[in-house]
Amino acid sequence: MKTRLTILAALCLTVFLAAVSPVSAEESSTGISVDGNIEARNQSGVHHGEVYRNYLKADLNFGKNFGNTVVKVTLRAEDDTIRPEDNDTDTQHLNEKDYLRSDETGPRRAYLREAYISHDIYFDSIIDSINLKMGRIIYTWGNSDEVKPVDIINPQDYSNLYFTLIQERKYGVFSGSMSIFFTENFFLEGVVIPEFRPSEIASNVFVQREIREASAAGSTINNPNEPDAENQENSYAGRLGLTLFDIDMHINYYYGYDHLPAYEMEVVTLFPAITTAITPVYRQVQMVGFDFQRALFLEFQSGEKGHTMSGVNILNTAMNLLVVIHFYLHHLSQLIFLQGAMVLSKKITLNTPWGLTTTILSLMTCTSTCSTISR
């Protein structure tokens, strides 16, 4: 704990110095770019005014280019009261607030959020370029918000549930990737992840109902069976990307561990009372996904075909289609997800009945479909 506080203090001091430094957000004489942010947040309940969360975060991003090589490092220091304190008194069983936490425990922590080396190699052949990347990396797969079935490479911190954006919830995973660009519109990407990190559910406030009920009923919640305790299997991911007729398409594949657990319950005693034990187990999963995105631009000039429009209506619509198949190994289940996502941006003027009708039709057109099967 003392070491972590020292790191935290050092990181905060570094962030402060970087913030007041004249070279911040620019490249210094050594060519290292430094930027970052500091955020303070208070969340309080409206019913009794209880404080749910006091949150202080500092991100510090370093970057440096060495020709075709880029190094990026993101350090994060947090003081987050929604995260439970360390519980060193009982290493065998968990209480309901401690439930499923990761190595970076406690409300105060400083850690390496993302750090990688990226190198580009260019060719004058059928292959245009190759990008090699290695380190602790945060991947972003899929185009929609929040619910993203193909975006499963990184574990997440659910201590504040979905009230924190998905990109902020992610933890980087130690991994290596290679992307082969045949053209700027056609690439193949492969990822190897030689570690397993679970998503975190531990929270001082948002404890899942099932866990509360199990705990209240006297069930024992065992420590999770993490894969690394029994084997060291890598996780793998791959992606094929193609842009054709302005449609961005990806075929995604993942073979590895699900970051959220399945639960195994066993009866411990039958007499004098039935007692049970619940053990979270992380299962392997295969995912095959397909997604595409198409930007649509619709522009209507004023006065066209007798319609009186005082302005110009522009709809900039991105349409997503996602088809995902999950195969949970050693586990019989099947799921299908249908998902549609639409992005509307730029100026939309609804000043005529015709303009309103057009917008509604566009909304209907852009309701796309995605499916997921899990086994």
């Binding site: 969340q43 929040e146 998902q339």
Partner: protein
């Protein structure tokens, strides 16, 4: 705006799961005054459970590198649903973010 449907075709017996889960997610932002002021809302509505969590936020850019935010989260639904189990956790928040 996003629509999401989950259909369970087959699952181990004894697990309590809804066969169909339909969700509508939204994320809307409206910038004003040269992006110095922004009102936004995001959240999700589960049509099966009739539960919802939603956020409304006002952001004011007090300086080029400093944003001040005030907002709230509302959670509604039955206690036995994924979202509604946190029905009692409606909240307000204030936040500040300095970028450099």
């Amino acid at each position: 705006m996003q629509y999401h449907q989950q259909i369970i075709l087959d699952y181990e017996e004894g697990l309590e799961k809804e066969q169909y889960v339909n969700m509508i997610l939204w994320n809307v932002r409206y910038y004003m005054f040269n992006k110095k002021f922004c009102i936004s809302t995001r959240g999700a509505y589960d049509t099966g459970d009739k539960s919802v969590y939603g956020n409304a936020e006002i952001m004011v850019k007090l300086a080029d590198n400093f944003e001040f935010m005030v907002g709230g989260w509302m959670v509604e639904g039955r206690r036995d649903t994924l979202i509604g189990q946190f029905d009692y956790y409606d909240m307000v928040y204030v936040a500040g973010r300095l970028t450099f």
